[in-house]
């Protein structure tokens, strides 16, 4: 059996949805970030597949950039998470409800 590009895309979509679901239902900040990473990587997968199929470079380039950005974001998030932990003593996002209405 040969694997078609849109099979890759379908897989990517599924991963993306899983990630989104994770963000929706998890309360732990770190887990949420992991789910976000999942979504980003779904995109990566898609890009790689497509650029492979059309044998273009641009997709791969994009992927690299995305990885870099993801790394940077990880750094930011950890910073925020630590600050958040300092103040609330937890990283449960439901504890963040000072700002409302």
């Amino acid at each position: 059996m040969n694997i078609n590009v849109n099979d890759y895309l379908i897989v990517a979509t599924i991963i993306f949805c899983i990630g989104a679901l994770g963000v929706l239902i998890r309360k732990n900040l770190i887990t949420i970030f992991l789910s976000l990473e999942l979504m980003f990587n779904a995109a990566n997968l898609g890009f790689v597949a497509v650029s492979e199929y059309l044998n273009l470079m641009s997709g791969d380039i994009f992927v690299i950039f995305i990885m870099v950005v993801a790394a940077a974001e990880a750094a930011i998030l950890l910073g925020i998470a630590i600050a958040f932990y300092r103040e609330k003593g937890t990283i449960d996002i439901d504890k963040a409800n000072e700002l409302k209405m």
Binding site: A20, V23, L24, I25, K27, I93, D94, A96, N97, E98, L99, K100, M101
Partner: protein, 627 residues
């Protein structure tokens, strides 16, 4: 501006000048305002006599001062017409008002509002003169309202008295109701004739369809009803007696209230082209004449009695103009002005002597104490009850005769009946006040009035005695008739007198009516051969009806005034505050409630934020797929 015009415009000028002077600088003039004011009026009286003879031996003319309103096709000038009708009115008005002015000097002597009083009075004279001289309907309307306003302030002259200020307000508002019709009539004339000048209107009126003429006539007559206090708008006149007595004499007997008659005489062309309207005039006149006399018979307030008699006399006049004998109407107008003015002034002097007492049950036997007043009063009374040779006899007789000759027998009978009642109530008054035993409380010092008051009375009395002869029957051969009727020539005399009975028969009938009236009064109040109380008991209902003025005020209050007030309150409280404003505030309320709901979206929980975002995405995708 030639001499004629100058004289014409000087006649209203002096009273106006007086009004402004006493009005603005009153406190500097003090009592002089009285004398000067009277002098002003006398001057304009002399001037008007001059004009009178100019017209009598010359011919009528008009004179324009300036163009008042000029709005594209609506043009009105301030200008006068001077013809026989207006000069007669002029002389009468200025004459009587000068007498009243002189009288007032005495009457109002120690009133703190002396200057104010004379300023008002002059203003009134000015307005009345202009009303008479106006040569177009708008100007007429303007001064029609102006005299109404003057009577408003004069009735309410003693504004501290609630009753007085109420009476003034009532007079003004009731007049306005009449003027409402009048204004509509004027507009109707304008939109159909394109002009408001008497001459052009009268010359063109016959071109209009009959129904229009009738409508116009009736609307104008509505104004007349208001001003001349005819039924059903007569309610204001009796209350108007709250004002100073000279005012009652001048405005509410001699001049202003007769303006209605003058109006119809002035518009005789219009009325003569509309028999139905004229019939309405006749009927209203008859009703008023009768009910007024009926009410007058049982009143105790002397001024009110005279006021009601004024109403019924006005009723006579309207009957006259109603059947198209305008000359007779005007003749009675003038003579009535004289003797009724006399009656009021004498009543005033009685009040003066009795220091403000009005109830005839508290009087009696005053003849000895105030002879001049008493005699003049009796002269007036005789004139009113139509005893020859006093003026009232001739004028009233002229009307009754023309009624009979026209074949309106019903109204003739009413006329005679009213004549009887008139004689009765006026002599009931006289007997109760001047004769019989005195009911005056002892510590009240009764005295005759000063000469400044009595002299005018005497003058008037003389006129009342002799004036009639210029209307020597048979009326339509008399001097007056031949003088005035030139003006009514252009009216379409529908069906001239059908049958021409000998005048002396008719006169005898009315004289008998008068005398019998006087005799009845004599029997009741001097001989006391008949028991009044018993009569009152027997005709309880009738008596009550008469005594309570047919309950008309109460009916109005119940049927019109209260409902209107309640309706207004309803409009304000319910419609305005509740419905409309409620709607407005309701919207605001709704918005704020919604917003308080909307804000809940931002509930501070990160999950829900993510959720909304996702929902948004799904919605967009759904839109694509579903579409």
């Amino acid at each position: 501006m030639n001499s004629k015009d100058l004289i014409v415009w000087l006649i209203p000028f002096f009273p106006l000048l007086g009004a402004i002077l006493w009005g603005v600088f009153g406190k500097y003039f003090k009592n002089y305002s009285g004398y000067l004011g009277s002098i002003f009026i006398i001057i304009s009286f002399i001037l008007s006599t001059v004009i009178f003879f100019m017209v009598a031996y010359g011919h009528s003319f008009t004179s324009t001062l300036y163009s008042w309103i000029d709005a594209s096709y609506f043009k009105v000038n301030i200008s006068t017409t001077v013809d026989r009708l207006s000069v007669i009115m002029l002389v009468m008005v200025t004459g009587i008002s000068s007498l009243v002015h002189i009288y007032s000097i005495g009457y109002m002597k120690d009133d703190k509002g002396f200057a104010r009083y004379f300023s008002y009075l002059n203003l009134f004279v000015f307005s009345m003169i202009m009303l008479i001289m106006a040569n177009n309907f708008l100007l007429l309307y303007v001064f029609w309202e102006a005299v109404g306003f003057c009577s408003y302030i004069l009735i309410g002259f003693w504004y501290e008295k609630k009753s007085a200020s109420n009476a003034g307000k009532k007079a003004f508002i009731v007049n306005r109701i009449g003027d409402f019709g009048f204004a509509l009539g004027v507009m109707l004339i304008f939109v159909n004739m394109g002009t408001l000048n008497y001459s052009s209107v009268f010359s063109g009126i016959h071109l209009l369809p009959p129904y229009l003429i009738t409508t116009i006539a009736l609307l104008l007559f509505a104004g007349a009803i208001g001003k001349s206090a005819q039924f059903p708008l007569h309610v204001w006149l009796p209350d108007a007696m709250e004002g100073p007595t000279p005012v009652s004499a001048l405005i509410h007997a001699a001049t202003m209230v007769t303006a209605g008659v003058y109006l119809i005489a002035r518009c005789h062309v219009i009325f003569s082209y509309s028999p139905s309207a004229s019939n309405v005039v006749l009927i209203i006149g008859g009703i008023t004449a009768f009910i007024a006399a009926f009410i007058a018979m049982t009143q105790f307030d002397i001024k009110r009695i005279i006021a009601y008699s004024t109403l019924s006399q006005l009723g006579y006049m309207f009957m006259a103009v109603g059947i198209g004998s305008y000359a007779a109407g005007i003749f009675h107008l003038v003579s009535h002005a004289i003797f009724k003015g006399l009656l009021f002034l004498t009543a005033g002097s009685v009040m003066h002597g009795m220091s403000g007492e009005l109830d005839l049950r508290k009087m009696g036997g005053l003849y000895s104490k105030m002879k001049k007043t008493a005699i003049t009063f009796i002269v007036g009374g005789l004139a009113l009850s139509g005893i020859p040779p006093f003026s009232g006899f001739f004028s009233k007789d002229a009307i009754l005769a023309s009624l009979f000759n026209k074949g309106d027998y019903f109204f003739w009978i009413i006329g005679e009946l009213v004549a009887f009642m008139t004689a009765f109530y006026i002599f009931r008054l006289i007997f109760n006040v001047f004769f019989g035993e005195s009911h005056v409380d002892k510590n009240l010092h009764v005295h005759e009035s000063p000469n400044v008051m009595t002299v005018p009375l005497i003058i008037l009395a003389c006129f009342a005695a002799v004036f009639g002869f210029i209307g020597m029957p048979p009326f339509n051969h008399s001097i007056f008739y031949s003088f005035i009727n030139k003006d009514f020539a252009n009216s379409l005399n529908f069906s001239p007198a059908v049958n021409n009975y000998p005048w002396y028969l008719l006169s005898t009938v009315s004289v008998i009516a008068g005398i019998s009236g006087i005799y009845t009064a004599y029997v009741f109040y001097i001989k006391k051969s008949l028991d009044l109380e018993m009569l009152k008991k027997r005709f309880k209902a009738v008596y009550a009806l008469s005594y309570n003025k047919l309950y008309i005020d109460e009916i109005y209050d119940f049927a019109i005034v209260r409902p209107m007030k309640n309706f207004s309150v309803f409009l304000w409280r319910v419609v305005d505050s509740f419905v409309i404003d409620g709607a407005v505030n309701g919207i605001a309320q709704w918005i704020s409630v919604t917003s308080s709901k909307v804000r809940k979206v931002q509930n501070g929980m990160l999950m829900s934020y993510v959720f909304t975002l996702t929902v948004g995405v799904i919605a967009l995708l759904a839109y694509y797929f579903v579409r």
